[in-house]
Amino acid sequence: MKLTRDQVKVLAAAVDLEIPEQDLDNVTIRVSALLSAMENIEAELGEAMNSVEPLPPVFPREDF
């Protein structure tokens, strides 16, 4: 998902964060890349993801 600078500004405003102009392209590239990666993951694993719990992968009480 390729976001525009304006879309990133709106997302940032929603969390009360003002991103200075000189860093806006950098943040836009980063968020776009992560959301695009997630689109690919959804395409490959979406169905399988529906059948697992989103448990944080921590181990205090698991058996192996």
């Binding site: 964060l17 980063r30 992560l34 959301l35 990666a37 944080p56 205090p60």
Partner: protein, 483 residues
């Protein structure tokens, strides 16, 4: 008695035996490290704070204790450093940031308490990427440099924690590994670094916030030394609700010279991907031959989901960390952050909760694939870094184009992040040197809480190869670099 240079590069286990037998004084050992710090750390910048006076007082106390028969064990009198992300009572803890330059905690991290209880001596606080995030461009406490070639980076984020033991500035360090921050500097500096199983070591007193992946682990010159440090810091801590109550085994007892009966699996996607350096590839091929000769059965396996590990960790752990940073500092101290830190954290702030949730589900699948694969073998193998450490300016994570994001942020982390996603133990150890004398590194990972197997494989390989006996000749290397 060895000279100062030789003394500083003995393994912690060898130093410990000399201390135990009163053939070496803790004060003498500490002074050897302090002299090297004084001579070389102006260039290498491993330390942010050196606690010389406190350390000397502790060394004198250790000397008295040992002399009067109160020997505490193999780390008694051994000097160690810690990443400046771990709280130290009364000693400033900068987190590698200008923002927290004056933070002085009122408590020690559990791991530091435990090392002090074992008689080890805190020599200083080590340089790091800002807040332990990778990708710092300008280091407020000095640019950390690789002791094998100071024009090259020492990796991160536990940069100083890798430089210090490699340079004979300490006998070992503690670092923090969320994605690869212990293993990568171990690999880049030619030493041994362990990411323990999540829950094996208390996180209390570490300022981290990546609560589903943060671990604390030792960086040392040998595998045996690593077992000594892990033995001292592992085990349940009521102040970390996610620390495990499992008993801590005797790690040194797992060390054997052979690998008979073990099946080791090379992970195809993490070992031979496009972009692996030719000298890493040939070192890996040679390492597999050594492992076979030691009696292991070596096979190849595929982890098809490993490629998703890096974005999934950035989508989740970065968001966890960003949520804390946003409220505290990101809104008000933007310009006081390094550009690499603030833009990465800002991206983490903007991931929608629905995406975060789906990414956590995908993480469960990545982890399951790794655990299922480990059901059919004893350990997984791959290089710890696909490339030897590059030049400092070339390695900076400047993101100006989408291609920069792929190359500088996502692809270069593929060798460590999958094991972090699965929260399994993984160790990096020297696997050779390039023709330019830069270290390359082997990685071994095993089932959760099976650090003993990780140590067994790593130790047998280490003893069968000469790499752990090589140390940077700093007088020559730094003189040459300055010329």
């Amino acid at each position: 008695m060895p000279g100062n240079e030789e003394l500083a590069f003995l393994s912690a286990a060898e130093q410990g035996r000399l201390l135990r037998d009163r053939k070496l004084s803790p004060v003498e050992l500490l002074r050897a490290c302090l002299e090297r710090i004084d001579r070389y750390d102006g260039i290498l910048r491993a330390y942010i704070t050196v606690c010389a006076e406190q350390a000397l007082a502790q060394a004198r106390q250790a000397e008295r204790e040992i002399a009067t028969g109160n020997y505490r064990g193999p780390l008694h009198g051994i000097p160690f450093g810690v990443k400046d992300q771990l709280c130290t009572q009364g000693i400033r803890t900068t987190l590698g940031s200008r923002i927290t330059a004056d933070y002085v905690p009122d408590h020690d991290a559990t791991v530091i308490e435990r090392l002090r209880a074992a008689g080890a001596i805190l020599i200083g606080k080590e340089n790091l990427h800002e807040f332990g995030k990778g990708g710092t461009n300008v280091f407020p406490y000095g640019q950390p440099r690789n002791p094998w070639n100071p024009a090259h980076h020492p990796a991160g984020s536990s940069s100083g924690s890798g430089i210090a033991p490699a340079s004979g500035f300490s006998s070992g360090s503690l670092g923090e590994d969320t994605g690869g921050s212990v293993r990568s500097p171990a690999a880049a500096n030619g030493i041994v670094g362990l990411r323990p199983t999540f829950g094996r070591v208390s996180r209390y007193g570490g300022v981290m916030h990546g609560w589903t992946a943060d671990t604390l682990g030792p960086l040392t010159r040998t595998v045996e030394d690593n077992t000594l440090f892990l033995q001292a810091i592992a085990g349940h801590d009521a102040r970390d609700p996610l620390s495990s109550t499992r008993l801590v085994p005797d790690y040194a007892a797992a060390l054997r010279p052979d690998l008979r009966g073990l099946t080791l699996a090379v992970v195809r996607e993490m070992t031979w991907p496009d972009g692996v350096h030719s000298e890493v590839r040939s070192a890996m091929e040679a390492a597999l031959d050594v492992l076979r000769k030691l009696g292991a059965t070596v096979k190849e396996v595929s982890l098809k989901l490993a490629k998703h590990s890096v974005p999934l960790q950035l989508l989740t752990s970065d968001s966890d960390i960003a949520a804390m940073m946003l409220k505290r500092w990101l809104r008000t101290r933007w310009n006081d952050f390094d550009v690499g830190t603030r833009t990465r954290l800002a991206a983490g702030c903007l991931i929608p909760a629905t995406v975060y949730h789906r990414a956590m589900r995908a993480r469960a699948l990545v982890r399951r694939e790794i655990l299922d694969t480990l059901a059919g073998c004893d350990a997984l193998l791959c290089p710890a870094n696909l490339n030897p450490p590059g030049r400092i300016e070339a390695a900076r994570e400047q993101v100006d184009t989408p291609e920069d994001m792929d190359k500088k942020v996502l692809l270069r982390r593929i060798s460590t992040y999958p094991f972090s996603m699965a929260n399994i133990p993984a160790i990096a150890l020297p696997m050779g040197y390039t023709k330019n004398e830069l270290p390359v590194s082997l990685q071994v990972a095993a089932k959760p809480f099976d650090e003993a197997t990780v140590f067994r494989v790593a130790h047998a390989y280490e003893r069968a190869t000469p790499w752990h006996r090589r140390h940077p000749d700093l007088a020559r290397i730094l003189h040459k670099a300055a010329a």
